[in-house]
Amino acid sequence: MKARPTRANSRTIPHFDVARVREDFPILDQKVRGKPLVYLDNGATSQKPRSVIEALNRYYAEENSNIHRGVHYLSERATAAYEEARAKIRAFINAGSDREIVLVRGTTEAINLVAHSYGRTFLKPGDEIVISAMEHHSNIVPWQMLCEQMGTRLRVIPINHDGEIVLDEYRRLLNDRTKFVSVTHVSNALGTIVPVRRMVALAHELGIPVLLDGAQAVPHLRVDVRDLGCDFYAFSGHKMFGPTGVGVLYGREELLEKMPPYQGGGDMISLVTFEKTHYNVLPYKFEAGTPHIAGGIGLGAAIDYLQKLDWQGLAAHENAVLKYATESLAEIGGLKIIGTAREKAGVLSFAFDHIHAHDVGTILDQEGVAVRSGHHCAMPVMQRFGVPATTRASFALYNTREEVDVLVRAIHRALKVFD
């Protein structure tokens, strides 16, 4: 991934210092069930640095007002803060223009927006939509719904036993009926980093637009949408240290211009929430109703936080913790790691033959270790690997090797219970 230039006026923490970073996240310093919290459920949602929490407080304590409509002081201030956040997001993913940054509720809404607006306008019966076998339900179901409505067909790129996209199969799936490709950048269930840049290039050779689900990528990788070349990029604020309820759809301006409003199309509610002039201006034509203003501002604060970190050091730290966790868990008898791609970020899923993921999760919780147990909203992935569920430890920049050691001890306790 191309390095994003650090803003000249930002303070850079050299040589990523995890102990110092942990101090920025107040929630981490607590005991749960009498044990120090070991939070390894970052794939579900990440924790928030103090600066994000303060930004939310400040907005409600000092700035709260509706945006884009008042002529009074507070409304101007809130509008400026919200639009400043949009500019930060644009810079964060290196988009070309603020008009390409649509603020939505999250990745799910971003994908639904594209499926609904682009899909219903430009796809025809018999057209094919290509997704991969490791998509989150949010990148499966909107397309299935579209297929039901439009008579389009869903094609699925298979994955190999390590949880990697089979690129030859992808190439074979692309044909003159393929009219859209929507794939994940990083798998939430397996941690696989998908070679999306190459996949976008292959699709573009045939003129096929590509959406990337970046929900699990943005907390770990430096994302440059123009370098990736994608047409759409969707991600959530809450998985990248921002608030819940706010997310981003990046779309190339040329495509967004051609697309009708998401909450429009003759729907009466859109007539109430949209004004005619908004139809003509990006990104507002996709932002019906009062948005999550505090959330947008909070996401801007999360980006400020991330921009101050030394990303080379951060990546080295995250890779070292994931490698250490992978090696430590691989030594546990009977434990099977699900997802062994060469390129991975943030996720370590595992399963036992004789202990269900829920039971592991409950016992880990008693040790203060928070993990996710279940199908991770990726039931087809579970079917692919022949497991009903996995336990997923998912890491963020503030996790440490010591926490991995606690995880390993907790897993041994589970093994003892089910001996």
Binding site: I355, H356, A357, H358, D359, T362, I363, Q366, S373, G374, H375, M379, M382, P388, A389, V417, F418
Partner: protein, 152 residues
């Protein structure tokens, strides 16, 4: 006893390891499937009901130790019981899983009182109740798929 020991008692671990009546039933005249959409657990309950009496009952499926043990204990408790007794037991067990402690559990639940520890783990109540909701659906004979999401 810690909450965890209370949850994973020997009897539960035993029923998880060697579930009773864990088999399909070709001549079942009542059958229902149950899903927990939150975790993907699923169970099928088979019943042979004759003159209002459960002559045979079995289950199949995949799930955690709690859901498996609960289903296993359920089949063991209900074999030979009347349909009315099964409904009454469903109510009692449901009360126990969602409400009081083992001491409060109605005496009627017998061995099933072992499941009372679950109510200290709110996230796991649905694991224990899945088989019971599926039982209810099977007895109704409506062919509906049971789901833990109807419960609150």
């Amino acid at each position: 006893m810690s909450d965890l020991d209370d949850l994973y008692q020997e009897v539960i671990l035993d029923h998880n390891k060697s579930p009773r009546n864990f088999r399909p039933m070709a001549d079942a005249n009542r059958k229902a499937e149950g899903y927990n959409p939150l975790c993907g657990d699923h169970v099928t309950v088979f019943i042979q009901l004759e003159d209002g009496v459960i002559r045979d009952i079995s289950f199949q499926g995949s799930g955690c130790a709690i859901s498996k043990a609960s289903a296993s204990l359920m089949t063991a408790a209900l074999k030979g019981q009347t349909e009315a007794a099964a409904h009454a037991l469903f109510e009692d067990v449901h009360q126990m899983l969602t409400g009081g402690t083992e001491e409060d559990a109605p005496a009627r639940v017998g061995k099933l009182a072992i499941l009372a520890g679950v109510n200290k783990f709110p996230a796991r109540v649905k694991c224990a109740s899945l088989a019971w909701h599926t039982l209810n659906a099977a007895l109704k004979g409506s062919g509906e798929t049971a789901t833990t999401e109807l419960e609150n």
